[in-house]
Symmetry: D2
Subunit: 351 residues, 4 copies
């Protein structure tokens, strides 16, 4: 019963088969191979837009390299106060940008709102050359609380950001799950909603190791190949990424996988909600379930073999009062979570 993280799941057979096929014989190095070309083309088609695509091995690299193209070292980058980027990626942002600054936006609702963005921008000191100057906004889709920005919500945020001269990046480690939840097109949730650059993650959705940086605003991609190389992220056997992405996107496989994960989370939430001592912290939209439960219950679940993590108290909705004996807990499902695991979990929860 692994609900620790979707990055602990295995690899979808269709993706693995494609990878195996790509591993035989020689291929051009450094992303100039035919598998990579094919993946780039599929991504362009998927987003119905001219794109520049670069592949990297980790989400941290995807996010931070993306943002290094959007900020000078004297700029700040606005993000959600609980963004993965700020709490779980060390000071990688500072490393990749040469010392730009993350500027957290406090929110009540788990999502950044135009009002919160406007308010934050308004409070920033603006005394040249003393003040740090914002140059970018980064949004997480799905969010750190498992919520999904709608195309309209994104549009409102990106319009405001662009008005103020900020470019907009999306951390799409779970972009697939968001698209699967909304049923809209990938383009509607990114380029058509004003996103300039997307970290498009496959590793959490059935791939082995595969993250893409997708520039919709291709003028921002100038010299990105140099950034990639300089950061030690240019893999010699680039087919690793090309083969995975091609198979992942083929015939909507990526959405099938995401839908499966979302469905399991929904079922898991139903189980949890039925327990009298469990309180839901956030609505369940994608493949994450955030709850609050007694410490004793968590200990019981752990003892029963359930893998899940207690979570940051700061991640709870504003005003949510945590009992002294309670803990926030996060459950994540994956494409591979089985109904047997859910049954076993139900038994553990009841036991």
């Amino acid at each position: 019963m692994n609900f620790g993280s979707d990055n602990q799941s295995g690899v979808s057979p269709r993706i693995l088969d494609a990878l195996v096929r790509a591993c035989s014989g020689t291929a051009a190095p450094y992303g100039t191979d035919m598998y990579t070309r094919q993946a780039e083309q599929k991504i362009a088609e998927l987003f119905e837009h001219d794109v520049q695509v670069f592949f990297v091995a980790t989400g941290t690299a995807a996010n931070c390299l993306s943002l290094s193209a959007l900020a000078q070292p004297w700029n700040s980058i606005l993000c959600h106060a609980q963004a993965h980027l700020i709490s779980d990626e060390s000071t990688a942002l500072e490393f990749f940008t040469g010392g730009a600054r993350l500027l957290p936006i406090a929110t009540d609702s788990g999502k950044i709102t135009p009002a919160a963005l406007r308010d934050t921008l308004q409070r920033l000191p603006d005394a040249r050359p003393h003040s740090v100057r914002p140059s970018a906004l980064t949004l997480t889709q799905a969010t750190e609380n498992g919520l999904v920005y709608t195309p309209g919500e994104l549009q409102a945020l990106t319009s405001l950001a662009h008005e103020r001269g900020l470019h907009v990046h999306m951390d799409g480690a779970r972009f697939a799950n968001a698209v699967a939840y909304l049923g809209c097109t990938p383009a509607e949730l990114s380029v058509k909603a004003g996103i300039d650059v997307l970290s498009f993650g496959a590793s959490k959705d059935g791939a082995l190791v595969a993250e893409a940086v997708v520039f919709f605003n291709t003028s921002l991609a100038q010299d990105f190949d140099l950034r990639l190389k300089r950061a030690g992220q240019l893999v010699s056997k680039g087919r690793l990424f090309g083969a995975q992405f091609s198979a992942w996107l083929q015939d909507g496989h990526w959405l099938e996988l995401a839908r499966a994960a979302n469905d399991r989370a929904s079922a898991l939430a139903t189980l949890l909600q039925s327990h009298p001592a469990v309180r839901m912290a956030w609505p369940v939209q994608v493949n994450e379930v955030f709850v609050v439960m007694p410490k004793t219950l968590l200990a019981h679940l752990h003892a029963a073999g359930v893998l899940c993590y207690d979570w940051y108290p700061d991640s709870l909705p504003t005003g949510f009062v945590l009992g002294e004996d309670e803990l926030p807990v996060r459950f994540v499902t994956a494409w591979s979570t089985s109904s047997e695991e859910l049954d076993a979990f139900a038994a553990a929860l009841a036991g």
Copy 2:
């Protein structure tokens, strides 16, 4: 007929099988999985020494992260004047170290000698705090010219370096080929010869994407996990590396692969040497053949479907006079280079 680079070769079936097996089911993330543990243990056994091991996706990351643990930003790192690190890895060294400096050592012989190292150190200005202060030496094994440092040569260099307070790193992108050539033990060519940290590369020797940073001097590894994470190099599904390395090292498979590549290079060199217009630039010890040939001959080979690259004139031995119509050319063989390819090459060369 691909003699472009060993990084263009495919993946050895045994390694690929192991990777496929590791891809099914869940596994602990970020290198805490059992595949990674197993690989770490095998590496310790291989080198007959306590080690700290970290896995990364590229040779550039392996080299530059290693050296970031050996140099403060105000230090310099001595390297061969044609080191891959200085000519082919952008300014990644400066990026990872926060701005340390590479200091090239000129050599006549293709290898750094104790005399050359001593001379370079002696010429360095030493006025504190104005001068850049050396803190590390990096050696490439096999070298940029396809030569191999013997244990005795290494010992002489590392002794001198340690005397002067320098730590020693080895770029072992082709360490396997060097071990295969000498027939010594891996330990004799590294930790027993005074190497502090090794970039141990598998990608060029039959793996897909797998590089290890191996600390023999484990006190230098303090906080290396933080460096790894901060550099966006900590892969979530770490079994990618663990599975490959385990299979690569199992039953001496890594040396079989390296020996195969070395043998093919030897055969290729024999073919080239027999051509009246071809001159050998360097002795052939591992899987690289450096020659000088007429431009017309290179054009002919390219037309016949031979993939190989013209090379830097600066890479030739001191005093080697290049004719006006000649070019240096590099050929690289791989574990997968077939006798059919060599036959076809012989025909192309004769044709």
Copy 3:
């Protein structure tokens, strides 16, 4: 009527005379001159402690270089949410530290309290290697709101910090004003209260351009000369700093100057308080007066030739409600503020 900032004031004649004397004839370069030696000795005597001292041209350099000795690039540094360092020094902290992160502590009282520090530390994620790890605390003395930490308050904070493995830096741009206010010894307000490193500023207190980094914990000063040089902060004619600091500290001149500035602020506050439309934002302890006033009154003062700046709404005490027509305004006095200026200000305020 210049109440803009104490960094707009002129130079005390005693300091200027000493500087002039030091400018004739040759002197050893890069801080090895006798003026610098003398200043270092005076600083050691002043603080009754063994110290390592380094001189720089700006407060930003003093703060950020100091902190670069207290934080690795993957560390965070805790500071007051309105610290000068975070709001007025661009991303210099990130530049000098190679990308460490500032972590603001929210406070109600204008000063960091042990409770606020403890709470902040407790909320920090602590998942190695993903989380940013705190390594230092920086305190501003006097604070951003013109308040003074007492020795007891400092001791409580530094004890807690040291317990948690954090070193403590003090931004002492107005350290002189704080000592003058409390009437304690400089040692009681720094080394005896647990401060490890002090940015000891003279520029705002009668000097021309002179800031000292004073290490009480001298083991932290290792390689600081290299940091200084590398940052382009090692001035060749170092007597510039040595001469100023010697004269500044001679016979308590530095405290005379600070007392004068504090007294003028006190008088200014009395004038402001007497105005019915002016509200005090913070108690006046040193040479800064923070008030809230109607926008029309500020415009009137500006028109009458008063130089002062409207201030950040975020700098107001928690719960302070700003009227729609009101603005926070900061007044700063200097050693050179004259009674004539105060009289003229009184007239302007009344007019």
Copy 4:
């Protein structure tokens, strides 16, 4: 008898007087004061060109900040193999540029020649994205060997550089001495000769601490104020620099000072040349005299109270054979070197 360096000399009375006058009364901060405005205007007039000027405290900051505007972190900057920047400024260049690389040009003549520049550029690997890409050339005027580039020589170098897409910086720590030697206009030796940015140094020529970064190509100065602030180089009492530069440039004072220094060096060279055991290493054009002398003679001079430094063997002209008992020695004169000092030196040399 101080021939150690012109940065050990005192301050010219005219400059000091101006500084003293500027130190009384309040002034606008951060370089917005009238002294700074006046200095900027004088610099524009001096160079007969629209300029953007920024003042800093050290030559290292002037050089490295300038070059940070001319190079991305993945670029290289070509410089003379003995450039001060590469041998005496730690890794400040890497710090300020975020990790760009200095690329030394070997020369026979002590000056970079178009042939040497062309040859170096031609030898650079050019494989995108692996190779480091040159973006700037920096020239030292006068050079590290006390030689002066003529306007024609500069023009030839800058034309070639611009053709190849490189911007050109001049390290003008002794620019005044070069102009005094040639008798041309400052413009002829800089902007008219194709220089884009000049580090214009006054500290070695009679000022206290005053270096200007002068952009002739003003489009390169965009955001330079932010670089300055972020590097902790924006001095609050900016009149320090403004007052010095205004007085330095007033009525050709700067050239009087430089001429005096040059003349003394010429006289010193005559004395040295007359000694049978002394060999001239380089022609004497400005205020530096490079000779080779027996170690015993140097010891004798030191014992007699002569301050001068033995110098790098690598700084000698190509092919210059140093005797076993000989040492290269550098003598520097200043605006303040007196005839009495020269007489005393003559006596010491003879004694």
